[in-house]
Symmetry: C2
Subunit: 325 residues, 2 copies
Amino acid sequence: MKIEVTLGIDVGGTNTAFGFVDVNGKCVAESSIQTKAQNSAADLFSRLHPEVEKLYQTISDKYLLKGIGVGAPNANYYRGTVENPPNLKWGVVNVVEILKQYYDVPVAITNDANASAIGEMLFGAAKGMKDVIVITLGTGLGSGVVVDGKLVYGSDGFAGEIGHTVYDPNGRQCGCGKKGCLETYASATGIKRTVMELLATSNEDSALRNVNYNDLDSKMIYTSALAGDKLAIEAFEITGKILGLKLADAVAVTSPEAIVLFGGLALAGDMIISPTKKSLEENLFHVFRNKVKVLPSGLPEGNSAVLGSAALIWNEIIKLETITI
Amino acid sequence: MKIEVTLGIDVGGTNTAFGFVDVNGKCVAESSIQTKAQNSAADLFSRLHPEVEKLYQTISDKYLLKGIGVGAPNANYYRGTVENPPNLKWGVVNVVEILKQYYDVPVAITNDANASAIGEMLFGAAKGMKDVIVITLGTGLGSGVVVDGKLVYGSDGFAGEIGHTVYDPNGRQCGCGKKGCLETYASATGIKRTVMELLATSNEDSALRNVNYNDLDSKMIYTSALAGDKLAIEAFEITGKILGLKLADAVAVTSPEAIVLFGGLALAGDMIISPTKKSLEENLFHVFRNKVKVLPSGLPEGNSAVLGSAALIWNEIIKLETITI
């Protein structure tokens, strides 16, 4: 009997990665093509189709495709759409309908952060947990909220925007038009802005005084912090302090067993987890104290996005099978 | 055939109200006894039992008891317990076990705010909605969060503590030990504190300058505001502004269709709803704007707590019957 797999597709601004993943989260084959952000969604998926077929041929003697999960920016789970993604010239497009032209299996779509959350729940750090919040610390701050084993989509399919909860109503300008959103502080971009602020307010010597804003990235700040650069270390501490404060608010809403940190900035490990955990505990309502784990992602760094997208549709299939039984 | 009813019990610091409620939220008989907060839980329920029996006798020719729901402070739904309630000398006690000694029907317990949330969902302003947040503005600020038609209990049964999300980490001392919790601003007590602050910071003449802190209540502030007292009106505006800001954070987590305001301070109607709604919209992430309703409670003022407790167990019974079908 063939082993069942799902196809996970992760649509990024530059590349679209895809791979076949079994129910245990093992990726048995993967590849990628250019997204070509200036072109339409129809163009992407028409170019993707033969590549997926080619890859499937290499495994189809042993594996059987059961469903397709897509992670994409500004995706709406309920409608199957991607709606005006900032980095793709797609407008509003129904991705599920496009894919249904090519494949006769269940298809689901959600945004990258939600896909990561389901990935962590099925295959990663939140395996077996029913209540968890996954935070992706990339260019921005994305989040996926799991309640009672199910991703929270909310009334409109857009729940889980913890990056746009407000840390300081008079604070930093956010790309969304508001001021002081959490993601302007706690993200790869946020920590860069914090470094700039520290360069202005402190007299501390730092290797980062030789780097301009555009060249600076969160990996450099991490490397400097590891080398003992006090200003870089303080930037991580401030980031964790603000992140922990706002995560305490989110815990008060859904009371998760754990918070999983995912994405580029989360690769700094304890450098970011330790101050986040400290601030979280300080700001938690007493009934939640010493209960909420703060964990690094349990997904392999290389193909976590493909695993998340594959997990999205695995989760749907598992739900269906449970109901049938 | 007899009409099915559930028994709703609302345990308060002074009185314990109870009543029989049908599946449409009609309370067919109700009464109350003294709680006697210094006595044990066992004492309360042993005194309650004959009173419940007496009331049931008056309706049992037409009605059949299907289950019992209890709303009580510091109640834990998962464990069936009440745990160290601030106003009752109960310690940790399993209320469901106590009630099971007297009644051979399903029993469930939750805290007052969660019971209200289920009440609003089944019988009140949130009827038919699947995603909603209910805020009770009483002495403190309680909340019940409904996601996909189900109350969120979280990993430990204590989810929904929006009153203890942080508005200002350096702000007002909260009874919980933290500083600047939302309930120190947005609650009947919170608006009193805001009036005191305004009496200090402003030179505005006000009838409230003749009232001492202990005598002042939120109804007086409302009456003054209705009479055009500028300071009282400003107190409502500040309260709504802060409440709206923090509710925007909660919307970003679960994306509800509506927020229902319940409890004493919510009786001020538009005086509190209007500034709350304005501030909510200003602080919402753009995808949520112009979507989230802010509604007054749809439960009758007199027995809303009994209806909420009855709704809790109706909700369990309906779930069971749906699964059986």
